[in-house]
Structures are given as structure tokens and as C-alpha cells.
Subunit: 363 residues, 2 copies
DNA sequence: GGAATCACGGAAAGCCTATTCCAACTGCTC
DNA sequence: GAGCAGTTGGAATAGGCTTTCCGTGATTCC
């Protein structure tokens, strides 16, 4: 609130002095505590950080008191080095500002919290090389596990080095859990992208829709592929064939949906009764784009998405989508980090169709 | 996708075996690399991890080659222990699923990335004790800095132990940066909550509004207090007095806004032309609640929020709000982590009023 | 050409903790 | 009362890395 461009008024001097002296008081260590309590460092360690060995209650008290008095906190890094293993699990997401990923992060964190694990989030920016680099770093950090959410490219050119890196991570003793991609040889919490999209398509056909247009993220993305393929299957179940040119690939984001719709031909739009975007963000972007062109939702064009992100509750008309139970996903992912390797490579979390006003029953 | 309840088919055996053997191949260490390159561990260290000292290019090559061949990655924990300082900054937010905080996290992370810092996010759940506990842990982790966003209680009963803990953190050599709260004696990136709300109030009065109702988060929250106080001042500037009973305190969330509105008397609502909620989430919750009661926005009641979270772009009518430039906030926070203590305790980031359709000009 | 300086590799100390191993001590049995 | 297992405290080591300090060989300068 106050600003002091150049000369600092007296009032601030206190702060500056504190910063300037910069004593960097050496943090109190375990042996400080031990000394203060008059015991060996080994005993102090056994008292303060969960050890099997019992210590005399009397000594234990002394140690605890000394620790409290000195405000001791264990040095986590040192513990990690000494133990050779940490309690941190890393969550890799494409973009933490994305509603889908931030909700997932919240659910993973709360599940981890309950199990005494700490979570660190890293952002891949949908960049496989960065992803690989991050896993590499995590190996250096002795992370307990890495949970890989998002991205996931079909292209095996990218997959191979990633698999190599993840395998090294596992060999180091870490666990690998994937979310929503079954393309790599690791444990997976699968969101049933394919089944969800398929059921959505069936439901929409039942509502009377016949003329579809699909909006995908990048074509190489596993999520894109599965959801589009699922939708295609759902239509096929009803005897509707989807021409390849009815699928438009763009960016897996709001902007992607928006620009894709902007770029559509008037003729193309006229021949489209419903747009299915492979995630809600794209669907919302598409809606904005459509409205920008003067079209009404759902009267002129119906729209459906995927994920059921939280912000949908504020959107009018309500967006039809496929609900992904992220809380369950987070819990399941952490369960796999904790539990012993199950051999059960993939656990499907059921995705359920949520029909809303953006896709009303026709006629 | 596949599930193998009990008996595992042959296909999975490979996976199980890999997990079962559990060699936990000891990770390659710096001395492994040194040995492989035929140099001392000291030299290897100097080559691989940014050191001042030069080493013979020829040796350097050998070391780099050996490291690459062995797939060496530095053990971050060990480095932290040895160096006595880490490159991690911690970001403490109330709730990572909240659009405001997840956007802020994204901006802090990208700013940190540019400076070679790594960010770890922790969630306080708006719980001061938890906040204190986290800072304590961070001290144990030798975090380079802690950035405290959100919460912030007026009550000094809570503030005092937090200040103590933060001070210890600083004494250890860490930096403390607060976001959007000027109540504690540390460097702050201030969002100008007060000024923003004040300008919003002025703008709304100019649009013809006279009868207001305010929706606050918990009363003890600094953000609540500042924004309400600012709004009150803005009204006072125009000669409008705001009775205390026109401020309703609830929870700082969508649900808080929703339930607050649900609980309002019909008479109260009839006597309200505009509701200002202290953040967008609450405003959106309020809109949902109002609509649930059959009221139209903005014809019956106008609504305004604060923050300009990203998902507002999908809300109709557009919500009037105060835009907080989070990218700048993130950059500024990281700048304060990096830079030497400036003495300049607080840096105000300007919050600008964004008038939209939820508060049209009256008559 | 000799002395002073510099550049650079390596040995070793140090960071903080966990854990192994040993020694002392307890309480028992027979 | 000797021998025994069972406890429990402490010294010492391990863990992976950085950094100080030495010493050697090369360079520079007059």
C-alpha cells in the first residue's frame, strides 16, 4: 500500500536492517537438540522421527521438550538422503490453470494428505520432452511416485523415450501411475473415455440428433483419439456413419474450440445440428465462437462436451457432458501409489453421461 | 481397460515379474560417474552442476559423456543438504481447485520457471493452523521462499504465531512474500483490493445504482474486509451511506454466495438493486441462488464480483467485476523472491474495473 | 632463469539425518 | 550366582553431494 521509491523513510528502516544484517541464523539441527537434551544424536532421532526402537520415556520427554524449546524441524532433504526414499509424489499435469486439472490436483492432494504423502505439482505444458525431463528430475529427487495426467501422445516416437525414463524411475523404486491413458505399460486409472463418449453419442441419437460435427484436440492426443473413437462407435451402434471430414482437429483448449468454430464454413455449419467437443473447455470456446457468429445455443446448434468441469454450473444453457468423478480418480491414483503393485494394470473409473439444456430433445 | 481380478493371464506376467523382482537397482551416483570418467568426484561435481571453477574441456567432455551414458541425474535432496539451500519456492494457496488460485499458481509457476526456480504448491484449506504447520515444514525443507496467497485473517490471535513462524523462516535465510494482504510485516504484492472495490462502487453509482447489498466471505478475512471497506468508501465518495446490516457474511466460495442468497428475506431482496460479492465465485453462486428464486439478472437484481476469473468468459450475462492481473502478480512475487530485499514493503498491482452486462446502466 | 602467480585436479571435510553395531545394563531362569 | 536373552543408549558409519584446502604443473614477469 505504501511505496518508497528511493529514499526510505525511517519507518521502514527496521525492515531493511533486519534484511541487511542477514544473520542467516544457522537452523537448529538434530544434534543441537540432542545436545540440549543431553542425549546422543541417535536417541534424539529415534524420539523425534518415527522410529521402531523404544526409548526411555524420561529421555523421550527431555528430547521432545528440547525440540520444542529450540523450535526444531527435521530437515526433509537430509531425511530423504539418509533414508534413500521420500514421501513426495509428483503430479504431472498439462496446465494447472485448466479447471479439469486443477480439480484433479485437488482430489489427488486430498487423497495423498490422508495417507501422509506430500504432493508436488509440475506442469508439462503438453510438451512430451518437458514431460520426460521432469520425470528425469523426479528420479533425482527420489520421488515416491509420479502420477501422469493429461497429454499422452499416440505417436510412439514420443512414447518410447518416455517409457524408458519412466522405467528407470520404477527401477529406482518409484511408482508410476497414469491417468486416462492406457497406451503405456504402467498402472493406469482409466477414465473410460471411449465408453463415456460412446454412451453420450447413443444418448444424443436417442434425443433425435443425426447431424454431428466433432471437435478434437490435437489428433495425436490419446484423449482426443479415444473420445472421438468412442463417439464414432456410439453413432455406429445406431447405424449412423461419421465421415472423417466431420472431425475437426484443433487445440485442446478454450481457444482451440473458439478458433475452430470461427474457421468453419457457413455451409458446414448449416449442415451441423450438434457439435461434440472432446472436452468442456473446447465446448465452451465453441459456444462463444458460435454466438459470435450470431447462432443460438441450442436452437440453431446444440453442443456437448466432456469432463463436467466445475464451472459448468454457471453456464447457461447447461452444457451436456460426460461426468468424470475426479475425486474417485484421485483416490484411486493414490491407492495405487500406496498399495503393492497389483498386476491389475488398469482400473476403469466409470464416466457417466449428463444431459443438459444444451442438447434438448428434438421436435 | 482390462481387469484381472485374481488369476493373472500370461500376458500380465511380465509386468508382475518386473514388479516382483523389485531389484531397486541402486541409482547411479556422482561417484559412479566420476569413476566411469576416471576423475575425482570433485571434478565430476564441478562439471555437472553449475560451479564457478573451470575444468579442462577434455575432462569435462569425458565426465559429460559418462553421465549421459550412465543416465545420471543429480540427487536434489543431497544437493540441498550439501548446499544448505534449495531452489524450491513454496506457494501456499487456500484451495487449488479455485479458479483464482489455480490461475495464480499458473502465473507464479511460469514466472518461477523463467528464473530457474521450482515451485511446490501446498493447500491451506483456509486454516491458519495448517498454514503455520506448513511454513514450519517448509523451514525443514530449506525452501528458498514461501509465497502466501489467500486466507489472511484479521484476528491477531491467529496472526501472531504465524508471524513468529514466518520470521523463523526468514531467519533461516528464506524469503517471505505475501499476496494480497498488508497486515503482516513482510514484503507484499498488494492487489489493491481496497482501491479496486472503491472504484467499482463509484462506477456503479455512476450507472445509477443506489440500493446495494454486500456479500462478504468470512468476516475475519483480510480480503473480505478490504473489499467491503473499499466499496463502502466508494459509496461514501458519492454520498451514499451503507448500513452495517446491508453486509452479509458467508463463506468465501460459490456455495457461500449461493446459500447467503437463499437465506435472504423476500423483503430484503425487494430492497436490493445490486449485490456486490467480494469475489467472483461468490457472485456466481449468488446468481445461481437468485435464479433459483425466480429472479432475473440483471433485470431484477444486478450482480458484481471481484477477481475476473477466467471462467467468467463463459457466463451470461457477463459479470461486472474487478480485474486482477494475475500474470503480473506472479511475476512480481517471483521478482521479490529473487531480488534483494527492497525495503519497499508493498508493491501495489492495479486492479481495474470491468463493467459488463450484469450491471447495465439504469433507466 | 628464477620467482611469483595462476589454473586446475583431487583428497577430505562437511551438510543433516538414519541406522547399524556394539556395549552396558536389566531382569530371568535354573 | 552364573549364564542368558532382551533392552536401550551411543559411537560410528552411510548416504550423495558441495566446497575448502592443498599441491602440482604451467605460465608470466623482470
Amino acid at each position: 500500500m505504501l511505496r518508497f521509491p528511493h529514499a526510505a523513510p525511517a519507518a521502514v528502516k527496521g525492515t531493511m536492517a533486519r534484511a541487511a544484517e542477514d544473520v542467516r541464523r544457522k537452523p537448529v539441527t538434530l544434534s543441537d537438540v540432542a545436545a540440549a537434551a543431553g542425549v546422543s544424536q541417535a536417541t534424539a532421532s529415534r524420539c523425534l522421527n518415527g522410529s521402531e526402537r523404544k526409548v526411555n520415556p524420561e529421555l523421550r520427554e527431555k528430547v521432545l521438550a528440547a525440540a520444542a524449546r529450540l523450535n526444531y524441524t527435521a530437515n526433509l532433504s537430509a531425511q530423504t538422503v539418509a533414508r534413500g526414499t521420500s514421501t513426495t509424489v509428483a503430479l504431472l499435469v498439462s496446465d494447472i490453470a485448466d479447471a479439469y486439472f486443477s480439480s484433479m490436483a485437488a482430489s489427488v492432494m486430498s487423497a495423498a494428505e490422508a495417507k501422509g504423502l506430500r504432493v508436488t505439482i509440475a506442469v508439462t505444458e503438453r510438451n512430451v520432452e518437458r514431460e520426460i525431463e521432469l520425470v528425469r528430475e523426479l528420479r533425482g529427487q527420489h520421488a515416491r511416485a509420479v502420477i501422469l495426467a493429461g497429454s499422452g501422445y499416440v505417436d510412439s516416437r514420443f512414447a518410447e523415450p518416455l517409457v524408458r525414463e519412466l522405467t528407470m524411475f520404477e527401477e529406482m523404486g518409484g511408482r508410476v501411475v497414469l491417468i486416462s491413458r492406457t497406451d503405456l505399460p504402467f498402472e493406469t486409472v482409466d477414465l473410460d473415455n471411449l465408453g463415456g463418449a460412446r454412451r453420450l453419442a447413443s444418448a444424443l441419437v436417442r434425443l433425435g440428433y443425426e447431424s454431428f460435427r466433432l471437435l478434437g484436440g490435437e489428433e495425436q492426443l490419446v484423449a482426443t483419439r479415444d473420445r472421438i473413437e468412442g463417439f464414432r462407435l456410439g453413432l455406429a451402434d445406431a447405424g449412423i456413419h461419421l465421415d472423417a471430414d466431420r472431425v475437426i482437429y484443433s487445440d485442446f483448449s478454450w481457444e482451440g474450440g473458439f478458433t475452430a468454430v470461427q474457421a468453419m464454413d457457413d455451409k458446414v455449419l448449416a449442415d451441423t445440428r450438434l457439435i461434440f467437443a472432446v472436452n468442456d473447455e473446447m465446448a465452451l470456446g465453441a459456444i462463444a465462437g458460435l454466438r459470435g457468429r450470431g447462432l443460438r445455443i441450442p436452437e440453431d446448434i446444440a453442443v456437448a462436451g466432456f469432463d463436467d468441469i466445475r464451472s459448468l454450473r454457471d453456464v447457461v444453457p447447461g452444457l451436456t457432458t460426460v461426468r468424470v468423478p475426479l475425486v474417485e480418480v484421485g483416490r484411486e491414483a493414490i491407492a495405487r501409489v500406496i498399495g503393492s503393485p497389483s498386476g491389475e494394470r488398469s482400473r476403469v473409473v466409470v464416466a457417466t453421461v449428463a444431459l443438459r439444456d444444451s442438447t434438448p430433445r428434438l421436435n
